[in-house]
């Protein structure tokens, strides 16, 4: 049993291998996922281990990857498709939105699409254009999908197992900025983590910080630094951004009375807007200050020389926390 400290990327690989071992219906397809093991190496070694019938290098066509995945899933396979970068997912959206997300519903359960679409996303690695966007809200708006974002090696392993075992389509967005940022011991024991549930990463009493993906790193850093000033932050990792577990967030805000939401994606109609709106609808009397959002700007993701200006940082989060605490 593997119990070494591994990266988030290695945890993805470990989860894929584990499920391929357990279930022969699990297959992998995508661009460069076979011999090359994926451009980030998420599928490294899998073709050698499971053969090219189960690890398929596809022609270079994202719409086709989406379409193939729908057809394979409806046949009872469990395809896991890699879209090389989330910026290239758009040709596949018609298949994800118009078919995968609604196959079960439109056939009243006769057919379904148990598939996983994996895509690295987000900025911060000085990548070329179209390689750094965070467009998770586009998918989170679609009924019938699940959108899952891990924020640590252990959660990547446990959530990916759940995503693969889930009988419905799951979009699994991997925050590539933290692919190799840190290591954590992960036990390869096949233990899944629940979907549709937030994870409370740090308990606190003064304010609730809500985030997901790579921004969890800055959010935890802010909480740590604020603790030195006796500000007690509760940190919630949303993990499944759709369907969104508002119960955990509401319970936390009932306790703290304050909330800051942090995401890398643009602000307008981002997932943060949904969280803030629900807090106002359901917890107005608990709130001692308006919920604040710390997000990317409503601009095009800049080329990498300016990307750090676009992305929220630890200081932004700390400022927002202080502003919220000072609200009277």
């Amino acid at each position: 049993m593997n119990h070494e400290a591994i990266t988030l990327l290695e945890a993805v690989n470990l989860a894929l291998a584990h499920e391929m071992e357990q279930d022969e219906n699990v297959v992998i397809l995508g661009e460069d996922v076979g011999t090359n093991g994926g451009v980030f190496r998420a599928t490294a070694g899998l073709k050698e281990r499971f053969g090219n019938r189960r690890v398929m290098d596809t022609p270079l066509a994202e719409a086709m990857i989406g379409g193939l995945t729908v057809g394979m899933a409806a046949q009872g396979l469990k395809p896991i498709a890699e879209i090389q970068f989330m910026g290239f997912i758009f040709p596949a959206l018609e298949h994800i939105i118009c078919h995968a997300a609604r196959m079960r519903n439109r056939t009243r359960g006769r057919l379904s699409c148990p598939l996983v679409i994996r895509a690295p996303f987000g900025g911060g690695i000085h990548a070329p254009e179209h390689h750094s966007e965070s467009t998770e809200t586009l998918l989170a708006h679609i009924p019938g999908l699940r959108v899952v974002v891990p924020s640590s090696p252990a959660r990547a392993y446990g959530l990916l197992l759940s995503a693969i075992r889930n009988p419905d389509p799951v979009i699994f967005l991997e925050p590539k900025r933290i692919y190799r940022a840190s290591k954590q011991p992960v036990l390869d024991n096949g233990a899944a983590l629940p979907l549709d549930t937030c994870f409370t990463l740090r308990e606190g009493s003064d304010i609730t910080l809500v985030s997901w993906g790579a921004m969890i790193k800055e959010t935890l850093e802010a909480a740590e630094q604020l603790a030195e000033d006796n500000i007690s932050c509760e940190v919630i990792d949303v993990a499944t951004i759709s369907p969104l577990d508002m119960d955990t967030i509401l319970a936390s805000v009932a306790k703290t009375g304050r909330c800051v939401i942090v995401h890398e994606a643009s602000r307008h109609l981002g997932v943060g807007a949904e969280i803030a709106a629900t807090l106002v609808e359901k917890a107005l009397m608990d709130l001692q200050a308006p919920p604040l959002r710390i997000t990317g700007y409503d601009t095009v993701m800049p080329y990498f020389r300016l990307e750090n200006h676009f992305m929220p940082n630890t200081a932004d989060i700390k400022d927002a926390v202080r502003q919220t605490l000072e609200f009277v």
């Binding site: 022609p59 719409a63 193939l68 369907p243």
Partner: protein, 363 residues
């Protein structure tokens, strides 16, 4: 310079528009059984279609895509596919769907705005209608990949119109089918019109079948109004796919004798003369004339069968009209395998709102 590639597309036709053999018929077509069976089902399909249009015109069915003119393609296909094959249709293949066991009332239910029209257990693993153009081409490749991975001797068959061949999805489907030698058959119902846009504006290619050449798969053009030619073409393509010999593209030349759907008015963009001329080549009359000339079918049989078909269609219509709507909670109940907690509240709102005097909002 050296020639590094040459290709050709051949055209298959046995019967003239007047129902006369143009060349020696295949052995099976020298016997009445299959062809009369095929003809009966073409009449059934057309009768169902006429009734469906009438239901729409009288407010008893939603917008409906008529099958008029596709009978020569869909009926042979429906008869030739094996039950274990998988049909990945577009939205005009009701005749094939019926032959694969889908009850007529389920077809009406679908066009009557009810998801249960995609849920009939007789549909097996067949896909529901694909409304987004050409997307089904790649679903068929996904299905075929699954069949190939599992070493099953089954075939995925997908259809689309001529307009769909302009879409990347269609070409990406052909491409991967060729690259992976998938057990899939693509049939293009080239009925000359994509709503108002004629075939000539879709592509500079003189045939649509030749798009197969670019993908490295076999392609042929067939008279889609000639059931004998269609059976030959389909049988060869199915057999090849089943035996692991790779995919095929069949361009079936037909004519859309109806409007695009009941929401369309084709008089805005095509001439009555053209339509009138197209009726001279239509598939049902062509086969009937051939059967008459062979002495395999006569007026008495025609009358008896038409009566029988009318009553089959009538009872299906009655079953369709007697089907009560689904309860409102069905909006939620098939969205996921298990309804996420997060949606329970909205499900309750919907049920309250659906009750007389109910309010959909939280108190």
């Amino acid at each position: 310079m050296d020639t590094v590639f040459e290709g050709e597309i051949r055209y298959r036709q046995y019967l003239s528009s007047q129902g006369d053999p143009l060349s020696a018929l295949p052995v099976w077509a020298q016997q009445p059984e299959w062809l009369t069976h095929c003809y009966r089902n073409m009449v059934l399909a057309r009768t169902m279609d006429n009734k469906a249009v009438a239901l729409q015109r009288t407010g008893q069915l939603g917008t409906y895509a008529s099958l008029l003119g596709i009978e020569g393609i869909d009926v042979p296909l429906g008869l030739l596919m094996h039950p274990e094959d998988v049909l990945i249709p577009y939205y005009r293949n009701h005749a094939c769907q019926m032959l694969r066991g889908m009850p007529m009332e389920e077809i009406l239910l679908y066009w009557g705005g009810d998801e249960r029209g995609n849920a009939a257990e007789q549909q097996g693993e067949d896909f529901p209608n694909s409304v987004p153009i050409a997307t089904q081409s790649m679903h068929a490749c996904g299905v075929a990949t699954a069949l190939k991975i599992r070493n099953e001797k089954r075939v995925a068959v997908t259809l689309c119109g001529d307009g769909a061949t302009s879409k990347g999805d269609f070409l990406e489907g052909l491409n991967v089918a060729g690259a992976w030698q998938l057990p899939v058959v693509f049939i293009v119902n080239n009925n000359q019109w994509a709503i108002s846009v004629p075939r000539a504006l879709q592509s500079g290619a003189p045939t649509l079948a030749q798009k197969a050449i670019g993908a490295g798969i076999r392609g042929e053009q067939v008279d889609g109004n000639d059931a004998i030619a269609m059976r030959e073409a389909i049988e060869i393509a199915l057999e090849r796919a089943r035996e692991g010999k790779g995919p095929s593209l069949i361009e079936a030349i037909s004519y859309r004798l109806s409007d695009h759907t009941t929401a369309d008015d084709a008089t805005r963009y095509r001439s009555n003369d053209e339509l009138k001329k197209a009726w001279e080549h239509e598939p049902v009359k062509r086969l009937r004339t051939f059967l008459h000339k062979q002495g395999w079918w006569d007026e008495t049989q025609e009358t008896i069968w038409q009566d029988e078909v009318n009553s089959m269609v009538q009872s299906a219509v009655e079953r369709y009209l007697a089907t009560p709507p689904q309860p409102v909670e069905s909006l939620f109940d098939y969205l996921y395998a298990e309804l996420p907690e997060q949606l329970r509240e909205q499900r309750e709102w919907a049920m309250v709102k659906a009750m007389k005097g109910g309010t959909h909002h939280e108190s």
